[in-house]
């Protein structure tokens, strides 16, 4: 006779309520795990999306995601000539905010050379950018429709398509424009700034004897240069050694070359490190809290049955029958709570403002932990139950 099944059936309402409560706790643990994974996946998505093998960035910097990095946009021609390089292309990144009507939108802007490395690999709705100016692709997360017009500075863009799955390390959706548009947004100065810089240059050249005879027109392009990029993306030939090519570029071209793995490491270990560790610590605390709560629930369940356990001992139930009752109930409660949590999180994770990545591995590990907690907590309960004095079942009198 399975005592656990009968006890659960008898106290079904209360048992299910406890399991639902535990399920909510489990869902929180799962969500926290998913948020942690999502943070890492989101941060790395922008590095992984272009499918580059190397990132050529300004010397002594850690690349556009960690620091300011500027390189000439025509550097890609030189890099393309390096042995082992199959393709190279400039790219610009910039966080910016614009308004559509009264509503502000924050995006990670990516400017890429059309048809070259850095372009989005898929367009989920609308079409890709086909004109070199004033067209934009926006991440679906931004909530903008195809055809929306967006004004950025002096430029007006039309959203021609939507992308999916790529966000910045801050969780902002991405917006793709052509390289030239991206360069103008990032590097083109306002007219007033250009006039001020020209005046400053003229004044400086007059004060510098060597420049006195140089015509001002020859120097003026210096103050207005948009032929810059934040990085050069490189795809290697099949079989090429990424580290070897990177070291060669660093040695001969005086730029820093990061492999994609190194770029990911920069992101994971510095840019999002604090946020990642904060989430991880909170997840660990939540797990400890869950352990304590599950243990207390099971222990309390055992205490409530003290008299029944004593009666079982009096009628001769062996220890294994009593231990089985407690262990099976603990496992049932834990598994039911876990299943409730899994159902809850699978039905709600898509509504979180940032990505929640619930992996089968994490779920399996959590399931293992839940089973372990239940077994450990029920061992405490069993220890308590086996110490129950059978005379507890009997009335007073002497």
């Amino acid at each position: 006779m399975n005592l656990a099944v009968r006890d659960v059936r008898y106290r079904l309402g209360r048992f299910l309520l406890t399991a639902v409560g535990l399920g909510l706790l489990m869902a929180t643990v799962m969500a926290m795990g998913g948020i942690y994974r999502g943070l890492v996946v989101e941060a790395l998505s922008i590095v992984q999306a272009p499918g580059a093998d190397l990132w050529i960035v300004q010397k002594d910097t850690n690349g556009p995601f960690a620091e300011t990095s500027r390189v000439p946009d025509d550097l890609y021609r030189v890099i393309r000539a390096v042995p082992g390089v199959q393709e190279a292309s400039p790219i610009v990144f910039q966080s910016l905010q614009f308004r559509v009507g009264p509503k502000p939108f924050r995006v990670q802007l990516i400017g890429y050379r059309l048809g070259a490395l850095g372009m989005p690999l898929a367009v989920a709705a609308g079409r890709p950018i086909i004109r070199s100016r004033y067209e934009m692709l926006v991440g679906r997360d931004a909530g903008l429709a195809v055809g929306t017009e967006i004004k950025i500075g002096r430029l007006v863009f039309t959203v021609v398509g939507l992308t999916e799955g790529i966000v910045s390390n801050a969780g902002d959706p991405v917006a793709f424009v052509s390289l030239q548009d991206g360069q103008e947004i990032q590097f083109l100065k306002a007219n007033e700034a250009v006039r001020n810089d020209r005046a400053r240059l003229d004044s400086a050249s007059q004060a510098t004897p060597a420049l006195r005879d140089v015509p001002a027109e020859a120097l003026r392009p210096i103050v207005q240069n948009t032929h810059l990029a934040n990085a050069i993306l490189v795809r290697l030939q099949p079989g090429a050694d990424a580290v070897e090519v990177a070291r060669r570029i660093e040695r001969w071209n005086y730029y820093r070359a990061l492999t994609t793995a190194e770029q990911e490491q920069v992101l994971a270990e510095s840019v999002i490190d604090r946020g990642r560790r904060q989430t991880l610590l909170f997840r660990a605390i939540l797990l400890v809290v869950s352990v304590v709560i599950i243990a207390l629930i099971i222990y309390t369940m055992t205490l409530e049955k003290t008299r029944d356990i004593a009666t079982l001992k009096v009628v001769g139930a062996p220890d294994r029958a009593i231990a089985g009752l407690i262990l099976q109930e603990a496992l049932t409660l834990g598994l039911l709570g876990y299943a409730t949590g899994a159902i809850l999180i699978s039905g709600t994770y898509q509504y979180f403002p940032r990505r929640v990545v619930v992996t089968a591995f994490d779920q399996s590990v959590l399931l293992g932990i839940v089973i372990l907690i239940c077994v450990a907590a029920s061992l405490v309960g069993i220890w308590k139950a086996l110490r129950v004095d059978p005379t507890t079942a009997l009335g007073g009198g002497a």
Binding site: M1, T311, L312, V315, G316, A317, A393, G397, A398
Partner: protein
């Protein structure tokens, strides 16, 4: 050899200044098929003796022999698996019923059988058959909390006898019942004890309940001060008329 032979049972609670001697050299014998009542005022040691005999709360000293076998308790040691002894050989009835609340009436009865290795199907069949005898068949599938006090005590009796135990111990089985229901439960206990040839010890402080019992042991201050056979004639001169009008061991 009697079915129960409790020899000079002593039970001491606490130590030093808090020491209480609850039983002092109490000895009783009960034959198979014999119905024995254990009487005495509150605090006289009746329940303690019953607990000692059932090994639920073993004695401090003395010797206990069950079913004409080897001692089950001797020299401050329990010599057998007490729970196995209880589930295989004993049926115990409590003053406060002590039914398992999450089992149905039939399951409460079948539990003891399944603990002894009887299949659930067979255990339930036997339990239901017994419940018919005890007029509880129509309540077989409800939980004990929905039963009246008398029904609960009849259920406790059913649980105690379903396994055909050689020994039935009943601790104040009528204390929570009115006189009529109490007598009914005692009648039931007597009938089942006789039918199954079990050695029955029933603790009671109500003299009206001992009618039909073979022998009465009276306890006071942890000792058995006298015993008598309430309904049996003098056979060999060892029995005299006792204070209740029955016969007392000389």
């Amino acid at each position: 050899m009697p079915a129960i032979f409790a020899d000079r049972i002593t039970k001491v609670f606490g130590r030093g200044e808090t020491e209480v001697v609850a039983l002092k050299d109490a000895s009783i014998e009960v034959e198979s098929g014999e119905l024995v009542a254990l009487m005495g005022p509150s605090g006289s040691g009746k329940t303690t003796l019953l607990r000692a005999i059932s090994l639920i709360d073993p004695p401090t000293s003395g010797r206990l022999i069950m079913l004409a076998g080897e001692p089950v308790y001797e020299n401050d040691r329990v010599l057998v698996d007490d729970r196995r002894l209880r589930r295989e050989k004993m049926g115990i009835i409590f003053q406060s019923y002590n039914l398992i609340p999450f089992l149905t009436v039939a399951e409460n009865v079948a539990l003891v059988l399944t603990l002894n290795g009887v299949s659930l199907r067979e255990a339930m069949r036997r339990a239901r058959a017994l419940l018919v005898q005890l007029d509880l068949a129509r309540r077989a599938d409800v939980h004990p909390a929905t039963l009246s006090g008398g029904e609960q005590q009849r259920l406790a009796v059913a649980r105690a006898v379903v396994n055909d135990p050689a020994v039935i111990l009943a601790d104040e089985p009528t204390a929570s019942l009115d006189t009529q229901r109490g007598k009914a439960v005692m009648d039931l206990l007597r009938r089942l004890g006789r039918e199954r040839k079990a050695a029955v010890i029933a603790v009671t402080h109500d003299e009206r309940m001992i009618e039909g019992f073979d022998r009465v042991y009276h306890m006071i201050d942890g000792r058995i001060d006298r015993s008598w056979r309430p309904a049996q004639p003098v056979i060999d001169g060892r029995w005299v008329v006792g204070p209740t009008g029955g016969y007392e061991h000389a």
